[in-house]
């Protein structure tokens, strides 16, 4: 997410809107955005609505044993179609902004 913030100008120039989603309540996301200087939207999925629909629930993996989201990235085009998916196999390995920007060039 730090990488996304750094590349935010490139994302905007490509017409791509990055959005981060977690089960954190809005206040927690607001604190995170303030502390880390994130200016893209952080959305709160407290009931796990989106996380369930995208089959990303990591049951009991939260700090207090709550269900959370596994890390995952999706690029969705303006028609609502998924154009690129990254489901990491290792918690530490995340998609790099360059990967997404390369795919974004192909979108109209």
């Amino acid at each position: 997410m730090r990488g996304i913030e750094k590349s935010l100008d490139s994302f905007n120039a490509q017409g791509i809107r990055p959005v981060a989603i977690s089960v954190d309540p809005p206040e927690a996301s607001r604190n995170l955005a303030q502390q880390s200087g994130y200016t893209f939207p952080l959305l709160s999925d407290q009931n796990g609505e989106a996380i369930r629909r995208y089959d990303l629930v990591h049951a009991g993996a939260g700090e207090h044993g709550q269900d959370i989201s596994r890390p995952a990235e999706f690029l969705v085009d303006s028609s609502g179609t998924v154009r690129w998916v990254h489901l990491t196999e290792n918690y530490w390995v995340r998609a790099r902004p360059e990967q997404v920007l390369d795919v974004a060039k192909l979108l109209k």
Binding site: G15, P41, H58, P71, V85, T88, R94
Partner: protein, 152 residues
């Protein structure tokens, strides 16, 4: 303690082990090159292992002033360091891979399921809105959804 008698390879080995362990989260995690594969940390551990081995051999050499004490101490320091290195390797290569498979996640070419979530000011936001609200006056070409574990 006489500086010439100090088992410096042993203690440097311990120090490098600890540096190798803690530097991932404090330093190397922030750069994709050292984050996606922790070669910098593994290199530090390798160097630490060599030094610990030398230190262990020194401690078991016959010329030590307190042979019993240095043997026990060196064995404990080496065992502790080995445990720290094993913990790191387990954490990165085993524990970090305990992630659900997400076989039902939307695939390329499929419709992204819509959702309505709450932004940081408590306002509801849907995927449809994210896909239609202009960016710098132009209609967006797409939305990048980044799901993360959260910190709460």
């Amino acid at each position: 303690m006489n500086i010439r008698r100090l088992n410096w390879p042993l203690w440097t080995g311990l120090l490098l082990t600890l540096v190798g362990f803690f530097s991932y989260i404090s330093v190397f995690m922030w750069f994709p090159v050292t984050r996606d594969f922790p070669w910098a940390n593994l290199l530090l551990f390798l160097l630490a292992a060599v030094l610990l081995f030398i230190g262990l051999r020194r401690a078991f050499a016959p010329d030590r002033p307190h042979p019993r004490r240095s043997k026990i101490l060196a064995s404990l320091v080496t065992a502790f360091s080995a445990l720290v290195i094993a913990l790191f390797i387990f954490g990165f290569f085993v524990f970090a891979r305990w992630i659900p498979e997400s076989k039902g996640a939307p695939k390329v070419g499929q419709k992204a399921p819509d959702f309505t979530l709450t932004d940081t000011s408590g306002k509801p936001v849907s995927l449809a809105e994210l896909l239609s609200t202009p960016i710098n006056g132009n209609p967006p070409k797409g939305v990048l959804l980044v799901f993360y574990r959260g910190y709460w």
